[in-house]
């Protein structure tokens, strides 16, 4: 594909149980770009992530999401994955009895089938998986463990990045991937994301409360989400200012301008 993938979110309003959480969010992410979505707790960051990925609990009441011009809102979660969207979960659930390897093979084959390709051979799969695990500094024994069951916080986040590496999305959303990680784990996970970004040229939306992760994954654009609306946008310097002055500062700045 010569055309660059682009995810367009236009005037998105989202409700959960009749409470409006997102109140008109507009955002465009192109392949190769890194966007940071920053905001305090309860601002609607995770709602945005889940809505893009297609969680049935989130009801879009207004606005649209387009991926390469196609209406994403009409797609089921699996179809969104197959066109090249990926969500790294903040709290991935455990699937007992299902090994990481078996799950990944099924997922890859679902993607291949959608592209009209034959299933991956066991030999190819093993080679590919071991390569990706090595790249992300993940122990081989990971492949035989049950998906997210008994994983530590750091292991869960790494497992999410491994899934991303295997599925090679065009646009990835990282939902608070930094939460619960110590500084070493954060570095490893971030380096993994950067490698994938360079290799695949994927677009990334980093959703975070803190500026910390942005020291490792350098954003091209920073957006500030407060109370369901993007209230400020800028370059990497905005993240720095936020870290120093806090979210109240942005609110006050806006008040001054108004």
């Amino acid at each position: 594909m010569s055309e660059q993938a682009v995810l367009e979110i236009k005037n998105l309003h989202v409700s959960v149980d009749d409470n409006e959480i997102l109140k008109g969010v507009t955002l465009t992410i192109r392949e190769g770009e890194v966007h940071a979505m920053m905001g305090p707790n309860g601002s609607g960051k995770s709602t945005l992530a889940y809505t893009i990925a297609g969680h049935p609990k989130y009801e879009v009441t207004e606005g649209e999401i387009l991926f390469n011009g196609e209406n994403v809102l009409e797609m089921e979660a699996d179809e969104r994955s197959k066109v090249g969207l990926f969500l790294a979960f903040q709290y991935p659930v455990a699937i007992p009895g299902v090994t990481m390897a078996n799950f990944l093979r099924m997922a890859i084959n679902a993607h291949r089938e959608a592209r009209g390709e034959p299933p991956i051979t066991p030999v190819e799969f093993r080679k590919m998986l071991l390569e990706k695990m090595e790249m992300l500094g993940i122990d081989r024994s990971f492949a035989g463990r049950y998906l997210n069951e008994g994983f530590s916080g750091g292991e869960k986040k790494r497992a999410e990045i491994l899934q991303m590496a295997v599925l090679e999305p065009k646009i990835a959303i990282l939902d608070e991937t930094d939460s619960g990680l110590d500084i070493d784990a954060l570095r490893v996970v971030s380096e993994g994301v950067n490698k994938l970004k360079d290799q695949l040229g994927m677009g990334v939306l980093v959703i975070t409360h803190y500026q910390r992760i942005l020291n490792y994954i350098k954003p091209d654009f920073v957006h500030v989400l407060v109370d369901g609306r993007i209230i400020a946008e800028g370059g990497p310097e905005l993240a720095q200012q936020l870290e120093e002055k806090g979210y109240d500062w942005v609110r006050e700045e806006l008040a001054k301008e108004a």
Binding site: A53, D78, F86, P96, G97, V98, F103, A110, Q163
Partner: protein
Amino acid sequence: MALDERQQIELINKEYAEKYGFHDPEKYVFKARKGLSREVVEEISWMKGEPDWMREFRLRALEIFWKKPMPTWGADLSGIDFDDIYYYIKPAEKQARSWDDVPEEIKRTFDRLGIPEAEQKFLAGVGAQYESEVVYHNIKKELERQGVIFLDTDTALKEYPDLFKEYFGTVVPPSDNKFAALNSAVWSGGSFIYVPPGVRVEMPLQAYFRINAQNMGQFERTLIIADEGSYVHYVEGCTAPIYTTDSLHSAVVEIIVKKGARVRYTTIQNWSTNVYNLVTKRAVAYEDATMEWVDGNIGSKVTMKYPAIYMMGKGAHGEVLSIAFAGRGQHQDAGAKAVHAAPYTTSNITSKSISKDGGRAGYRGLVQIYPGAHHSKSNVVCDALILDPESRSDTYPYIDIREDDVSVGHEATVSKVGEEQLFYLMSRGLSEADALNMIVSGFIEPIVKELPMEYAVEMNRLIQLEMEGSVG
């Protein structure tokens, strides 16, 4: 596209029908008339040329059957009409030791079920029962040379009368319950296994039970004796055609595990959904012996089955692993019984049930510790997975402890397939149906991994078959 309920049932029945649900024309050597009477019982005994003691045993059991009321607990059995059942059908003149000698149509049936192929690949011996009689039986020569006996139960009565009489009916007496009494009265076929001291049968022995005729009652009787320090793994499978009228399968299995011996008994029950499956399975385990029941219940209309282990000697160990799957119109009342009658005995019960499309699956179990069975330990884990709001799961754990110095644990979980699990898997590209399948196969994985590879594959396939059409 969403299928409506009727289409879903048709789809499931169609799959079952193609693989197992076909039936052959009836070309029987003998078919007793419908219904149960002293005459029918005497006729069975006479046809088999049995000794007097067995005929009397049968008649005594029949009286017990008539006296005992129907169980009022467990599943609904009111649909059984004892007068509308064929209690004995003899399909062939004689039993074969080579598949070439099995009547053509019956052989074709077992070919379709893959039995001769499995025998060549990974089994030490095979028995194949068709209606009331075992039509094929064979065991590897080297096992025979080591003194292992693997016969159908009727032949064993003729060839090893003393061994037979010493153990038959000692573990499950006719008075045990109404269906054990019925089986004792009209039993036919089943497997008889004797493993001499110290002999280890490394590959499984398998029996396959097939019902073909409509309104058939199958009442096989299995007796396994594992002598001191021996080991055997016995596997049974079963299927039947789909009929609109009901069939009855009521087996009795008795197992004696002597000092230091180990027996594993694996069942993959895949009866069509018009079969009442009411089975009494019980083992006694002596000093340092191990008895393991691995019980997969996928098919049948109603199953009531609680494999039991009586731990009679110090250090005996019992293990029950069971999976029950109840789909539309099915009730799986499965469970286990662990009786600790000696000190230092241990038991583990792991039960997994899945219910879907209004099916009902449950665990009913008893852990009993006798006075004097000190330092006994028992642990029960039962997990239920409910796939939709119409389906149901029940847990009835009974615990009866009459000794102080023991440890008994019980854990039960009931989970519904969560939206979060489904969404997580779907967000990686799996369809809803594949995601659901994956959750279910992961749920039963701890038990499936205990099965030999070929059966694990079969079990997963059967569950997947049941899962098909469950997602619109």
